[in-house]
């Protein structure tokens, strides 16, 4: 299906993220060969519980990152509330408190663009359900860097605006159901 074996996966989601991620992340096997970065729009002034929820449900360890958190394959890294998460190099993330982008911090675009810079054609970028346009530009950057772009089928999404915007800005993207995304990941990142 894909020529290059994938080295990293980045996922962006907003409204409906919890259910959508629950259909993917728990199915990834313990020997999953890529780091998985996840950016979800979470309220700025809350303590996010995503990492806790998913480390309980997943075979892979999940953490909410601190600045310069070391990154390794077979782990899930959530962007924290109120910071942008940038992929600094293959082994680290960096945080920034720059202004919000499209009213969002963390911004999916910011994380995807930085991931595309670092991972290039080894990156799979995935846009899931959401009610805004964040991620559309970031997914374009993934494609421009030679990576694989995947979008959740808007018809199956809790909120379709975000996947629709991603498809519009990124016609090359593959459109898949959540089950298809999961089996793609198991194949491409084995």
């Amino acid at each position: 299906m894909t020529g290059t074996p994938q080295k990293a996966v980045i996922i962006g989601a907003s409204a409906g993220a919890l259910e959508a991620l629950s259909a993917i992340l728990p199915d990834l096997p313990a020997d999953f060969a890529c780091p998985v970065y996840v950016v979800v729009h979470v309220p700025p002034h809350s303590r996010s519980v995503l990492a806790q929820i998913f480390s309980a449900k997943c075979q892979l360890p999940a953490v909410e990152v601190s600045d310069k958190e070391p990154v390794a394959a077979g782990r899930i890294y959530f962007a924290p509330p109120n910071y942008h998460m940038l992929i600094e190099d293959e082994g680290h993330v960096a945080l920034s408190s720059d202004a919000e982008v499209l009213f969002s911090r963390p911004s999916i675009d910011v994380a995807f663009e930085s991931a595309a810079d670092v991972w290039g054609e080894g990156l799979t970028g995935i846009i899931l359900t959401g009610a805004n346009h964040d991620g559309a530009q970031g997914l374009q950057a993934v494609v421009a860097g030679g990576g694989v772009a995947i979008v959740q089928d808007p018809a199956t999404a809790y909120a379709s605006a975000m996947p629709e915007a991603a498809i519009a800005s990124c016609p090359q993207a593959r459109v898949m159901s959540l089950a298809e995304i999961t089996s793609y990941l198991k194949g491409a990142c084995a």
Partner: protein, 277 residues
Amino acid sequence: MTAKVEKVEDIEIRLLLDAIYRRYHYDFRSYAMSSVRRRLRQARTDFDCATISALQEKVLHDPDMMPRMLGYLTVQVSEMFRDPSYFLAIRKKVVPHLATYPSLKVWIAGCSTGEELYSLVILFREEGLEERTLFYATDINRDALAQAEAGVYDIDRMRQFTENHRLSGGSTSLSDYYQTGYNRCVLDKTLRRNVVFSDHSLVTDQVFGEMHLVSCRNVMIYFDRDLQDRAVGLFRDALPRSGFLGLGAKETLRFSHHAAAFRDFVPDDRIYQRIGS
């Protein structure tokens, strides 16, 4: 990993940062590359340059460009009592220790436009420590320092500041400390009585005295790991045994070269205490 060919844009960025250092002595060469890339791409677009190299030409030949570039290379986003639980922890857990000293020095490193500084001054006033405290507020961005010194903020930010202040355990009303007019709030100038503002870089300057508390929040996130080690080294040297270091909500000493010189004091709020010699 296989050896990678450096991308042209990354080469241009390194050359630009080198040019800025040689021409203007601002050293961004060891800042986190992912952020620098993003900010310089914005600058390239805003200044209508086709490439970073074209931007470099402007920066080198037009000295008026440097202050504007500083606006891209440094990030001026701040809030009074940002992360109220941090200030609550300072109030409840750090202040009782500080109160045992007859005189105090506090360093707000990377104070930006002053919000963090004034939060601490107000907190110290509420806790009865202000009069014996000298505050050093430092930054490399002179425009930001000038704004910090002016202490004037848009009125529509005050709602958030007031809520933050309340959540930080404030015993007074934030409105006691400012006057409003023309949609702006002017902070009471007595809050600056014990403040020294100064242009100081965590990259190129040295320690300037012994501190009881260093608050350096959301500044080192823009540094690479080596540069973070340098900056934390300054704080280690500035803090005597049992001095305190407070970081931003998602910063940690866990990955630092100097981790062993500190212990967790309030882990959730990233407050550390100096141990050892």
